[in-house]
Structures are given as structure tokens and as C-alpha cells.
């Protein structure tokens, strides 16, 4: 199997995600907005913020994935790049997967890196911050992959944001639940393993789904 198409699809998607979505600013704005608004909506009790904070950010990550993925395959379909990728010897599933990973790196990974800073604002204890970062890092991949399946299925539909949410949210649930439990247990239970399993499952299952959906969208 040739690796050059996958390598360069990844690079193109990174540049595109960076150039198209205002780069880092969108996720930073999204998470920054969450951080600023949550104390107003939940109250300023520091005990409450420290408990609820990691879960709220976890939710923000899930929603951020939905916001950014709407254009990822739709743009490819409209500008004709999808036609070219599909003609690359059956690599479309892998190409779709690396495009999603590129989007995760640009839009999801910033949350992982910002967690220590946000954690300070929410007064989350240091150990809990490390757990939360691990959960966001591994679980986020799963969110973006399922969101990618939904985005691929609705690639040919204009203003597909709502449809993407409706399709993707049921698939988010296992990851959502295990991630929240892992944050609550803070390394004491087995939920982190289940979270990892749900991400691995998404890594295995989502790419062929995306590939098939994209072929259908181009047909």
C-alpha cells in the first residue's frame, strides 16, 4: 500500500483546517467562552466549579467537534477534491480518517493543551487535571471520528449542521459516559479502559463508514 497519498492528505487537511477555520482561534474562542460563561451560569462557588468544571469542558469538546466538522467533507465534495481522492486506489477510508485526525489536532487538541490553564481558573486539583487531559485527548479522537461519519453521510446536504448532530450524538454516548466516569473516578476504576476501548472501536469502525458514505456522496 502506498503511504504518500495518506501522508499528503493529512498535510493538506492540516493546512486547510488551519486556513479555513481561523486556525486556533475558533476552538480557543469556544473553550474560552465556556470558561467565561460557566461561572455565571453555575454560580461562583469554587467547590462546585472544581467538581463540575472537567465535565463541562468534556461537554464543550463534544460540541466543538460538531461545530467544526460540518465543512470538512462538504468542501471536498464541492471543490471536486473528493473525486480525485476517490480515484486513489481504494484509499478513501484512510484518507478520510487522517483528515479527521488533522481536524482533531487543530480544533480538539488545543483544549487538551489549554486544560491546565482552564483548570487553574476552575480551581481543579492538579491530579484531576492530568486525568482530564488524558480523557480529552483519547476521547476527543472518538468524538471527531463519529462526527466525521455523520459529516460524510451528510456531505451532499446544504446546512447539514443539525443532521450531523442528530446522526452523531447517539454514537457519542458511550464515549461521553465512560469519559465522565473516568473523570469522576480519577484513575480509581476501570472506566478509563472502557473509554480507550470506545476510542479504539471508533478508530476501527468509523473509517470504513466514512469511506462508504463519501463514495455514495460522490456517486
Amino acid at each position: 500500500m502506498k503511504s504518500a497519498p495518506i501522508h499528503y492528505a493529512f498535510r493538506q487537511a492540516l493546512v486547510e483546517a488551519w486556513a479555513g477555520g481561523a486556525g486556533l482561534l475558533l476552538p480557543v474562542g469556544f473553550f474560552g467562552g465556556t470558561v467565561v460563561l460557566v461561572p455565571f451560569s453555575l454560580g461562583d462557588s469554587s467547590a462546585l466549579l472544581a467538581t463540575a468544571g472537567p465535565g463541562v469542558l468534556w461537554l464543550a469538546l463534544a460540541l466543538a467537534s460538531l461545530v467544526t466538522l460540518e465543512r470538512v467533507f462538504q468542501a471536498d465534495l464541492q471543490d471536486g477534491a473528493l473525486d480525485l481522492w476517490i480515484q486513489e486506489d481504494n484509499l478513501i477510508s484512510l484518507i478520510a480518517a487522517v483528515k479527521i485526525l488533522a481536524h482533531f489536532i487543530v480544533s480538539g487538541l488545543p483544549l487538551v493543551l489549554l486544560t491546565p490553564l482552564i483548570g487553574l481558573m476552575f480551581q481543579i486539583p492538579a491530579e484531576a487535571t492530568v486525568t482530564a487531559m488524558a480523557v480529552y485527548g483519547f476521547g476527543g479522537v472518538s468524538f471527531f471520528l463519529w462526527g466525521g461519519v455523520a459529516a460524510a453521510l451528510s456531505a451532499s446536504i446544504a446546512r447539514a449542521g443539525l443532521l450531523i448532530a442528530v446522526i452523531a450524538l447517539p454514537f457519542y454516548l458511550p464515549t461521553m459516559i465512560f469519559g465522565s466516569l473516568a473523570i469522576l473516578e480519577d484513575g480509581a476504576g476501570t472506566s478509563d479502559l472502557f473509554l480507550l476501548a470506545s476510542t479504539l472501536f471508533a478508530l476501527g469502525v468509523a473509517p470504513p463508514f466514512m469511506g462508504a458514505a463519501l463514495r455514495l456522496a460522490a456517486d
Binding site: 502506498k2 504518500a4 497519498p5 501522508h7 499528503y8 492528505a9 493538506q12 493546512v15 486547510e16 486556513a19 479555513g20 468542501a75 464541492q78 471543490d79 471536486g80 477534491a81 473525486d83 480525485l84 476517490i86 480515484q87 486513489e88 460522490a218 456517486d219
Partner: protein, 189 residues
């Protein structure tokens, strides 16, 4: 192998309408086949089937060799410049050809570093045509390739097609009625 494409009894439907059926197409090395027909007659659909982008509703399709595809949409990302686009696909295909030379040949030297959202339709079309020169592939599938090109562009593309065919390649192109082009065969849909 002389035969590059062989299709028998192809059919396509859009909704409840039959675009074409029992269509036989063969393409050999050195041939130019033109698809003519009014708007909506299925030229693009047929080309997409030949490219493997779309499944025929009936019939058998065999392709013996790799193909280049130029569709209505050029495949340029909005941030890509002609130089970046050609370099990207050269990298994907592992081609070692000289991008600068191709840019010069397509008269794209001046806008070579302009992002595609600022390019004219003709410049985008030229960039897409540049992909044909990145890698030697026997089959060229061109969907109204002369669209948006100026007179000089028409001549350039005609020269490219003739050079490709005389080097043993083959072309299937969908064309508008008025464009003159010497061809081995014409198929009206």
C-alpha cells in the same frame, strides 16, 4: 495492450428518467473519443462511470490502465495556489516532474502563488489541466475541458491532447456542440 477502456451495455438512470442504455464504448491507444449531447443528456454521468466515481445501473465496464480526471470542479482547495496544488498532487502520486516547467507551459507563472479563491475560472481550469502533465497516465477523462479557457488556452489544450494521443495515450472528452476538435469517433448521447 491496445484496448484501454471497454464498456458494454452501460445504462444510467436519473430519478425515473433513463439517460442512456445499451451504450457500448471502447477506447484504444491513440484514440480521441468525443461525447456530444445537449445539457442533461448524461455526458458527465458517463464520464464519471468511466472514472469509477459512479456505478453504472447496468452493463459491464473494464479499464486497462490508470486515468486522469478533469471534472467541472477543479479539485483546488480555496487556500491552494496553482504551485501548491500541482506540488500536492505530484507528491501524492510520487511524481518527480518539474512543477516550474509545467507552470510555464500552462502560462501560470504569474498567478502561480495566488490562492485559488482569487484565481479566474480560466486560471483554475489551467491548474487542473496541469495535473495531466504530472504523471504519465494513458487514459484522460475530460469533462468539457475547454470551458473557461481563452483562445490561447484552447490551442494549448489541443496541443496537449494531440501530444498525448500520439505518444500512445487516449482521451475521452465531453464537449459542447460548437467546439471543433479532430476526433477518432464521436458519440452522441
Amino acid at each position: 495492450m491496445k484496448i484501454l477502456v471497454e464498456a458494454t451495455k452501460l445504462a444510467s438512470m436519473r430519478g425515473e428518467q433513463i439517460l442512456f442504455m445499451n451504450l457500448d464504448i471502447s477506447l484504444e491507444r491513440g484514440e480521441i473519443v468525443l461525447l456530444r449531447g445537449r445539457n442533461g443528456s448524461g455526458k458527465t454521468t458517463l464520464l464519471r462511470q468511466l472514472a469509477g466515481l459512479s456505478q453504472p445501473q447496468a452493463g459491464r465496464l473494464q479499464r486497462y490502465g490508470s486515468q486522469h480526471w478533469i471534472g467541472h470542479n477543479h479539485g483546488l482547495k480555496t487556500h491552494e495556489t496553482p504551485r501548491l496544488h500541482l506540488r500536492h498532487w505530484a507528491n501524492v502520486w510520487g511524481s518527480a516532474c518539474d512543477i516550474e516547467q509545467i507552470l510555464a507551459r500552462l502560462n501560470l507563472k504569474r498567478p502561480a502563488d495566488v490562492p485559488s479563491r482569487l484565481l479566474s475560472a480560466g486560471q483554475k481550469r489551467r491548474t487542473a489541466i496541469g495535473r495531466l502533465l504530472l504523471e504519465d497516465r494513458p487514459i484522460w477523462l475530460l469533462d468539457e475541458p475547454f470551458n473557461a479557457l481563452d483562445t490561447q488556452g484552447h490551442d494549448m489544450l489541443r496541443d496537449l491532447i494531440e501530444a498525448h494521443v500520439s505518444a500512445g495515450g487516449a482521451v475521452i472528452a465531453a464537449l459542447h456542440g460548437e467546439i471543433a476538435m479532430s476526433a477518432t469517433r464521436e458519440i452522441s448521447l
